[in-house]
Each structure stands twice: as structure tokens, then as C-alpha cells.
């Protein structure tokens, strides 16, 4: 992407005031998106994100600058600015970069932007027709078809020089059911770290129908009750509970500052005995996967919690310097506009051996959350919330009538200990996770789990 001679000059310049470490990140990204609603292709946009970020460390201080101008002059100016923001010790000069080829573990068969627009629109139309055809209460279908091809180059003062090419494909469908006075929504957003072959692998009719089914079910549902209940949260996006209740608090971004409920808990029991949780960037073509992180390190499979015991945080380079724990290839960023930070990849609770039906049968009155919406957490307090997208009452050990979306709240340290059963149907779902280094693709996942008690924010 850039001449090695220029990269070396920029890194040398960034180090010239005695910085401990310098890094250059260059990005050239092609985005394409189609927005469809009202039975029509409404908006069509393509674009080019292009820029570079220079980062230096002085001790535990990180300095970052970015620019859209990739000329030698502009990059040296950015490097000069970051170098002068602090004063270091001995100056290391003339770094020697060695271009390293990375192993591509995520094969792309049909690269993004090589398929005709018409084919994409045909796919979208099939989703739209399937949703509208499901039930005459479907009043609107919104579909967003997104492709992204991100080419990155990362070089640093330790001699690293790597490039990678990342293909992302995702379609987001939101169906609205209406009975004249009320409206409810059903949404699905499948995506992969892959090319167009992903769209060929999904059935647009099933996708459309599924969103319509949830919207119509929720339209004809009553409100959820209020109070404390046992809850069974099913697989897929249900994994958002671990993501919010625990995941963010295991990122060194929070841990290094002491602003996490899991500080000082390494090697200690923090969860139910049978709970094992993993953050894995190596799963082939999964939405949160990568070959290398945004600091140029090979991504890894990181066991966070094993049988209830805290085994690892998610650690980026600065997090490693601050906490002393080894890096886990977790340094991620939305784009060159952000300095990297420790972030989740594909994060999931591993399969247990409890039977799903026995879980339901163990509850007299509770909630079954078939699908979850999003959520959020304050890592410092551990207080989290997430919302139910498709819910049902559990009565006398059986799944009963549907109930409308309610928010569940709890405290991370607490909720992990209140998990009492883990099933064996692990599945993942795709999301965009927002934090200090921007919005990055992440998978959440889990088998069905039972939580003995959680606050349900219903209206009855």
C-alpha cells in the first residue's frame, strides 16, 4: 500500500523524540450499501474510506493522530505531531522493517464488489416478498445490504510490516407488523467475514419469513410482567448477555484503569461452575474473525472463563504494558480514525450438557427469551441491561403465551453466578459493538442458559 522506505521514515520520525514505540496503520476501504423499503430500492451508495493513523507510546501514554492525506509530507507531519506531544529517553533510530506474509485462514470465494447490482437487488426482493407474503399484518420491510472490503497495512518500530484484506458481507432485515393502532418489529442481521458466497449460502425466503414471524407474534402478544423471575435465554443473540454482563468488563481497556468489577479476580471463581466462555478470532469466516488484529498480531482463541474460573482478559498492546498480561490479539478499531483498544471478537459461552426441555420444565413461572435485542453495560459498576426481542411466559414447566419485549437488568458479577443450567445448542449471531475504538463487528453466542433470578422490566 505504501513504499517501505516511506513507512520507515514515518516511524523513524515518530520515534525521534524518544518514544518507546511507534506504529503506522493505513487503510483503504470500499463500502457499498443498498437501502430498500416501500418495495423499492431507495438509496444506493458506494464509497472509499482512506487514511492513516500514527500512534506512539511514551510509557503508558498513547498518542494518536490520523489524516486522509497519504503523501509522504502529510504522514511525516502527523508523525512529527505525535512525536512532539511528549518527551522520551534514548532515541532508537533506523528501524528495519521485514514484510511478513500472513496466513489467510478465512477464504473468500467471491470477493465483494464483483457481483452485478441486479443480482443483489433480486436477493433483496425475495426477502421483501417472503416477509410481506407471510402475513397481511406486515406493513413495512426495511432491508439494508452491506458489503465492505477493508485493506489494511500495519507497520511498527519492532520491525512488523503486514497487510491484510478483509471482506465483510451482511444483510439486515427489519419487518414491521401493524394492526392499525400498534406496531411491532422483527429483525435479523446475518453477516460473515466473507465475500458474496455468504449471500448465496442463505435462503432469502426463510430470512424474510423469520422476521415477519417475530413481528406478527409480538404484535399479538401482551406485555411482559414486572419483577424478579427465572429466565431461560435461548442461543444465538442470547449471547448478548455474556457480552454485556461480562465481556466488556474483561477488556483491558476497563481492567487497566481499575474500572472493572473483575479487577484482581484472575484465577478466581467468578461464574457458575459449569460455565466456560471463549473469545475466538480464528473461527473461519465468522463475523468477528480476523487474520490479524489492528495492531498486526495474529488473532487467537482466548479462553476467558473455564469452569467458572477467570483465565484471561482480552489484552491489546497498551493493555499488556499496563497489566502485565500477555497480548491476546484483541487490539481492534473501526477504522484509521480510531486508536486500537482491546475488544471482543466471537465471544460465546461453550456448550454444557443440560437438556433444553428440562430447563423449561424446571420453572413454574418465568420468562423464555427466544430472541434477544441489544444491550449495554457500565463496566465500572457491572450494571447491564439487554432487551428481549421475542419472549414467552413459562408456566408450570411449559412455554406458554408470547409476551412483548422487556428489558432485563442485572449486575455482571452477580448474574454469572446465578446461571444454573447450560444447554448444548450453541449458536452465534452477529452484531456491531460500540466502544472507545469505534464500532467493530462481533459475534455473540451461547447455548440456551437458565438464570435463576433477574429483574424483568415489563408493564404488568
Amino acid at each position: 500500500m505504501l513504499n517501505e522506505n516511506i513507512i520507515e521514515k514515518v516511524i523513524d520520525k515518530a520515534l525521534s523524540n524518544g518514544a518507546d514505540f511507534a506504529e503506522l496503520f493505513v487503510e483503504n476501504t470500499f463500502n457499498s450499501s443498498i437501502a430498500f423499503n416501500d418495495n423499492k430500492t431507495k438509496q444506493n451508495i458506494v464509497g472509499n474510506d482512506y487514511g492513516a493513523g500514527v500512534r506512539v507510546f511514551y510509557g503508558h501514554t498513547a498518542i494518536y493522530a490520523f489524516t486522509n492525506d497519504l503523501s509522504e509530507e502529510a504522514l511525516l507531519k502527523a508523525a512529527d505531531a505525535v512525536s512532539k506531544a511528549a518527551k522520551g529517553g534514548d532515541v532508537v533510530t533506523s528501524i528495519d522493517l521485514t514484510k511478513r506474509d500472513i496466513t489467510n485462514i478465512h477464504k473468500v470465494i467471491i470477493p465483494n464488489n464483483t457481483i452485478a447490482k441486479k443480482e443483489k437487488i433480486d436477493f433483496i426482493r425475495k426477502v421483501n416478498e417472503a416477509s410481506r407474503g407471510y402475513n397481511n399484518q406486515i406493513s413495512q420491510v426495511d432491508i439494508r445490504f452491506m458489503e465492505k472490503n477493508q485493506h489494511v497495512m500495519i507497520a511498527n518500530s519492532e520491525g512488523l510490516h503486514v497487510e491484510d484484506n478483509r471482506n465483510y458481507s451482511r444483510v439486515y432485515v427489519s419487518s414491521i407488523a401493524s394492526n392499525g393502532t400498534e406496531k411491532q418489529v422483527g429483525g435479523e442481521g446475518p453477516g460473515r467475514f466473507a465475500g458474496y458466497e455468504f449471500f448465496n449460502s442463505i435462503d432469502p425466503v426463510e430470512l424474510g419469513k423469520e422476521t415477519a414471524r417475530v413481528a406478527v407474534t409480538m404484535l399479538n402478544a401482551d406485555y411482559a410482567p414486572s419483577g424478579k423471575f427465572p429466565v431461560v435465554i435461548d442461543n444465538g443473540f442470547g449471547g448478548v448477555i455474556f457480552h454485556e454482563a461480562c465481556g466488556h468488563s474483561l477488556e483491558t481497556t476497563a481492567v487497566a484503569k481499575g474500572a472493572s468489577v473483575f479487577v484482581g479476580k484472575m484465577g478466581k471463581k467468578i461464574a457458575f461452575d459449569k460455565l466456560t466462555a471463549i473469545d475466538d478470532g480464528t473461527m473461519p469466516n465468522e463475523w468477528g474473525s480476523e487474520n490479524i488484529d489492528d495492531e498486526g498480531m495474529e488473532t487467537k482463541k482466548t479462553v476467558l472463563i473455564e469452569n467458572g474460573i477467570l483465565k484471561s482478559y482480552m489484552v491489546d498492546k497498551m493493555g499488556s504494558l499496563k497489566t502485565g498480561f500477555a497480548r491476546t490479539g484483541s487490539g481492534r478499531r473501526q477504522s484509521y480514525k480510531f486508536a486500537p483498544a482491546s475488544r471482543m471478537r466471537n465471544t460465546y459461552i461453550a456448550n454444557g450438557n443440560d437438556d433444553f426441555n428440562e430447563m423449561i420444565a424446571s420453572i413454574d413461572e418465568g420468562i423464555y427469551a427466544a430472541k434477544m435485542g441489544g444491550g449495554s453495560v457500565s463496566p465500572g459498576t457491572g450494571n447491564f441491561n439487554f432487551s428481549i426481542g421475542e419472549g414467552y411466559m413459562i408456566r408450570n414447566g411449559k412455554i406458554a403465551e408470547p409476551v412483548r419485549g422487556a428489558t432485563l437488568i442485572g449486575n455482571g458479577a452477580d448474574a454469572l453466578l446465578k446461571i444454573s443450567m447450560i444447554s448444548d445448542n450453541m449458536e452465534m449471531a452477529q452484531g456491531m459493538c460500540g466502544s472507545v475504538s469505534g464500532s467493530v463487528p462481533t459475534n455473540v453466542g451461547q447455548p440456551a442458559i437458565k438464570i435463576d433470578e433477574i429483574i424483568v422490566g415489563g408493564r404488568k
Binding site: 498513547a62 447490482k117 418489529v185
Partner: protein
Amino acid sequence: MEENKGGAEMYSKEFETIFAYAKDKTDDIEILLSAGNSFSVKINEQNVESFNYADSKGIGVRIITGGKVGYAYTEKFDEETFKRIVDEAIENAKYTEDDDLVIMENYPENKDCPNVYSKELDKVDVSDKIQLAKDLEKYAKQADERVFNVPYAMYADGKSYSRIANSKGLDREDTQNYAYSYVGVLSAEKDDKRMGMDFLITRDFSKFDPKKMAEVSVKKSTDLLNGLPVNSGKYPVVFNNEMMATMLATFSSIFNAKSVQEGRSLLKGKIGQKIADEKVTIVDDSLHPEGFSTSAFDSEGYPTEKTVLIEKGILKTYLHNTITARKDGVRSTGNAARGYKGTLGISTSNFMIEAGEHKEADLFNKHDSIIEIVSLQGMHSGANAISGDFSLGAQGFLWENGKRKHSLKPFTVSGNFLQMLSDVEAIADNFNFDISSNGASSVLIKELNISG
């Protein structure tokens, strides 16, 4: 970002290149450019945790060909790329099926826009900015021994330039700057941990008072300690001014004419109807001198204005761009919104519920038992702007007979936004804008569901 020399438009060469190339290929073209620089510093344990400098620019085109619209953008600035984005936008237009009539015009200019740029702010020394952030952390730690961590102590500022021009001769530009700072503290007592935050956004650096901001955030955090569980049920609820602004912003899309026309808003067909209590007046004002979403023109270059959306409970209008306005047979309200990377939509600017006449304390005298909400979580997941339903994580206090009795353990609040607007019992006079230019006073709602 280039220096603005004597009011002459910046990036003229880029605009000329694109216009010249597009002239014979498109019916009309609009070019939107954003450029800016920004700075931020974060402090941890009295050391600089991070410095960020940004220098960014991007250009987006919206073209009309054969009555169809196409978009493309780039952050790479060279002649070849500029020509490519015009061609890509034309290609994109071929696949657009929207039958809305889209017209570009040379709209009249708004002459009276409040000043949104401070030369003085650009001159503030970096060392003063760092000191401010350090002081935030220092004072926060000193303020109360229950504070165990200050995860956020930061200062940021920036300057942005935008220019929009179209092939009908419209050409507008705008330069703005801003500075903001926030501090977030964690305090603990027994098992209860709480976060408190305070912020200020301004163009006058002398307005930052780190001691006061630190003390406010610490008080917000420590007041919440030792929370007791709430009994689930229905309660009268007071949203403080900050949380009322958050609620308003979360449901702002119900006023968006595009959402209305596409069947995604609860307000469809309700113009002229009473949809809220008569104490409620909701306004969007792009020309508000104290807002930070102030601009004389919108993303189509259309002149902005103060728009009354709900007047004494009656729905008066939706927020429009020229496309939705043409469809409804009304005038645009100047709320077209688009970044160079995006497509044309509609958004609020300085968006607010007008202040009432009550002192905030009076609100708590209106019922024996009231729940005060001072913090909300999960707005992006627990609130559904299409149905109006919300179920949110919340923190706050129980009031009895006009006295704040005690803090509550985290609970949920749920209801429906439109119902809530009809159930407004009293509005206080403590109007304030939040950091995103949504403004409100504290508001008493007759009844909402609380679960804990």
C-alpha cells in the same frame, strides 16, 4: 484543514473538477464536503492516558440522472477518484426505484444565524487543556473518600468546515468550533457501586470549572449509594432535565416525515390532533444561539428555521427535507440531514421540550410517593421508536411527601412514549441542553411501570 483565507470558499479546485466532469453526464449534482480537525486528551492517575489529533476530510456527491438519484463518496482526494465517484453515483442511480420527485435548487440564504465560531477558542494553549483534564480527576478524587476510581477525565475540541454546492448555483459554507469536557467517577459503599458523570460543551474555554464539574459528578455518584430495592408497581415519575432530554432524543424519529411516509411513525395521520398534554410544546430550532447543532442551512443547502412540532399538545408538523415536503404538499422545515458518507435523510437540530413554570422541587410535592429518574441505560435496545414502547434500565430515588427518602437499587422503567406525553402533569423551569443539543426541563409523569 486549510486556513480559511478572507471568506473565500475552500476546496474550490475540488468542486470545480467535479462539477466540470459531471456537467454533461448528469441532470444535476450536489457536492457535500466536510473537513475538520479535532483534539482530545484523557487523563488517568494524573498522567496523560491518551492524546488524539485528527485531521479529516471527505467529499460526497448526490446526482440526479433521468429523475433517479445516486450517491458516492471518497476520502481520497485526487482527480481520478473524483471522476470515479461521479461515474459510480451515476451507475448507482440506474438501480434506484424511488419515485419521489427530487429537485435541486438555489435556495434563498438565511441571513440571521447565530455565531457558531470563536476565534479565541482556537488560541487556547494545549497545556491549559491538559491541566483542565488533570484538575477534573484531581478534584474528583478529593471530593469524597467513597470515590474509588475516575475512569473518565477528558477534554476535547475541534473545528469543522462544511460546504455544499449544487449545479443550480447554490453554494454555502459554514465553519464551527466547539470544546467539551466530561468527568465520570465511580464511588462505592458496601456492595453498591455507582457512576456519576458531568459534562460541559461550550465555545468559551473560561466557562470550564473543573472543581465544580468534579463535585457535581461525585455528588451524582455518591447520592445513589446505599440503594434499597423498589417494590415493583406503578408510580408517578419525575425524569430530571437530563433524562427527559434523553427520552425526547430517543423518540425524535416519530417526528421524521420520512419515517411517517414509510409507515414507521406513530404520528402518521395525526397532524392537527391532540397527542400530548396541553402543557407540552416541542420545538426544533436550528437557529438556537445556545445549541451546538446550529446552522443557517441544512444538508440540501435549504435555509433552516425554528419549527414548532407540538404546540400546547397539538401536533403541528413533521420535520421535512424538500423531498418529503413536496410529497406532503408543504414547505421543507430545513431538516435535511446527510454526512458525506451517507444518503439524504432527516434529523433534528436543537431539539427541545419548552420549559414550564414550576420550580423543580414543586414537582415532588404533587404526590405522596414519586420516583425520580436521574440515569437511564439501554436506550438503543430497550426503546422502540416504531411502537413507542420502552423498557429501560434506570437509577434514581424514592421521594415521599416532597422529601428525597433514599436511593434505589437499579430498576427498570417502562411505558409508551406517546402515552407519557399525554400523562405529563408538570414541567419545571430548569431547562438545559444535553451534550447532543437535546433540551428539556424536569418533567413529572402521572404514571409509569417500575420493576425492581
